[in-house]
């Protein structure tokens, strides 16, 4: 593992060289939003502001064709129609530069679902194996940050291939995996002892700035206990407008929808992001919907992250504490408050 230094003045040139070998996704400001885009030397890279979206689209695109199909009539027997199906799996070697440690940790949430004993999602895994994460240490937590509640931290290395730490004149790049070594290579100068010392100070200060973490371990049982407490969920979801901002910007939300999009005799089977705040998310073919109101839907979102997922995946919470759902929510719904309210709520009376 290596520690290299890139001066601010050299960063664009280095990103240019990386772009020759990889799709290099970097944060870029568009309007008031900061989004991940392929590096373009004409466009400044935004490393100060926290990205509005998570870089999850690098491995889990908003929309991808899983297969293409084509119906063909048999010329000999016109009543007989054959369907030709071609599986699609694509992806290019990608480096995400400037995602945060919370974003990198979040990919672990996906891995447990898409790479398990029961299911191996080859489209996901194909991209995942081709993607290298160069994460930027958050030198100061935002008011919406709570990664340390989730076991993470602003300088955490979990899930990252390279950790980049801002120092006075540039960034120190510390490789953490073989894939990280491959991206960084040997061309860059080694970080000096002074730069390493400074980087460690920045990391320690960032960790210290988070304050004491809150233990939300009790949420797992408590959310289950509150499952039938409609009053609790109606109150908690009152201001929610049931849009998809929280889920779409969330680094750990991984649900998808599948639709066949047919034009004439040809079509594609698309996988697109779906979201549990949507009425259609659990709509059954019979017309019955087990989650008819936004209260049912928000209960699922919070319950999934803090109770059901941990129950299924070794106690791991499906939230990385990035705070995007809080910061970008049109109604400022605060998932921290919901979880804490659930923990503090009086135990519902037993039925019967």
């Amino acid at each position: 593992m290596a520690a290299k230094f890139i001066a601010h003045t050299e960063l664009d040139a280095w990103l240019g060289r990386i772009s020759e070998r990889y799709r290099a996704l970097v944060p870029r400001r568009e309007g008031n939003a900061v989004v991940f885009r392929p590096f373009d030397p004409a466009m400044p890279v935004e490393l100060k502001a926290r990205p509005t979206e998570s870089p999850k689209a690098a491995v889990f695109p908003r929309c991808e064709a899983l297969l293409a199909y084509k119906y063909e009539k048999d010329p000999e027997e016109p009543g007989r129609v054959e369907v030709e199906v071609a599986e699609r799996r694509d992806g290019v070697p990608t480096v995400v530069i400037g995602g945060r440690p919370c974003d990198a940790a979040a990919f672990k949430t996906f891995d447990r679902v898409y790479d398990s004993d029961r299911v191996r999602d080859l489209n996901y895994l194909n991209r995942r194996e081709m993607t290298v994460l160069v994460s930027l240490v958050c030198s100061k937590p935002a008011t919406t940050c709570f990664c340390h509640w989730m076991g993470g931290g602003p300088a955490s290395t979990a899930g990252s291939d390279v950790l980049m730490t801002p120092v006075a004149d540039g960034h120190v790049f510390e490789t953490l995996t073989a894939r990280g070594d491959e991206v960084i290579g040997t061309e860059l100068p080694d970080a000096s002892d002074a730069q390493m010392t400074e980087a460690r100070k920045v990391q320690a200060a960032a960790e210290a700035a988070m304050g004491e973490p809150v233990d939300v371990g009790a949420a797992r049982e408590k959310l289950l206990a509150l499952f039938d407490d409609a009053g609790f969920w109606e109150a908690e979801s009152a201001k929610c407008i049931s849009c998809g901002v929280c889920t779409y910007l969330c680094p750990t939300c991984y649900c998808f929808n599948i639709t066949d999009e047919k034009f004439g005799h040809e079509g594609v089977r698309l996988r697109t992001w779906d979201y549990c705040m949507s009425h259609l998310f659990t709509m059954e073919a019979s017309g019955h919907n087990p989650r008819p109101t936004k209260a049912h839907r928000l209960k699922n979102r919070v319950g999934h992250k803090f109770s059901y997922y941990p129950s299924l995946h070794g106690g791991n919470i499906a939230c990385c504490g990035c705070g995007r759902c809080i910061r970008s929510c049109p109604a400022s719904v605060d998932i921290r408050a919901i979880v804490l309210n659930a923990i503090a709520a009086p135990a519902p009376r037993p039925k019967g």
């Binding site: 939003a33 979206e53 201001k239 998809g244 999009e261 259609l280």
Partner: protein, 317 residues
Amino acid sequence: MQHLEELKQQIRDRLPALDLVIGWEAGFDPLRATPLFMRQPDDVDRLIIGPQCVHNLATHLTGLKGRKIGIVVKGCDSRTIVELLQEKLINREDLVVFGVPCSGVVSVGKIGRKMGSLDYVEGVEFSADSVTVASEGVQNSFALEEVAADKCGRCQYNTPLLFDVLVGEPRPGDVVDDYADVATFEEQPLEARMNHWLEAMDRCVRCYACRNACPMCVCRDHCVAQSRDPHWMTQEDTVENKLLFQIIHTMHLAGRCTECGECERSCPMSIPLLLLRRKMNKEIDALFDYRAGTRIDATPPLLSFKVEEEKINERGW
């Protein structure tokens, strides 16, 4: 702010006869307010009013049909209530409107651009015409005019058009909105305008916050964008398809949009959606001399039928 206690008292007085009253409370930081649903007298203690109370709370009304609701409104929000009543989407007798005259709300986006970051807001102070934001130990003051939402600069309805209780002094609105922003945009060549929208829509994530935040977007769970049967729109996320949805949204709001700007404010990707809605409203204004939610007793032009429209020469071709 001196009227806050009076507003709280008015709400407490009427709360027993209501299921709930919707207002605002402090959010996750002092710049971000959040909707407050008051059910118990204690809840009223948390109420705030001020330029940070940006949300158009009328968005929640159609989802609460059948309940007795109190709602706190600014002037612009009252236009939404007028439009909802005209379209018979809510019942007047189920509603108690608490009106507060308004001198403008802040645009968090504008303050963010000036401050560089709003990740660390420690404190905010509002005066009659300025806002002071403290972040990372630095204080910055801005004239409210400079950081107010665009809609506030053209607002003629500082005092609610409709209310049961008015708290505070009515404020005259003497600005004229001549759709100058739309006209300026229209001066650009067609290609430049198209490119503007393609570039902006490219970052749309199809989260539908614009739709769900819109108080007049009442199809909700039956939206054309996601209906499966019939399958009106592809789920492909090409920029053309995303723009197509916005055009459909705009057409559905023609002459109905009260320009509260919740679509634009809610967009996490900062896509300037209100301009699209205003373009359509400009045409409706020119054709029918009508602005949504401004005339309490009128019938919106697209909900009515006249053999001869006054401004459309139907037989003169």
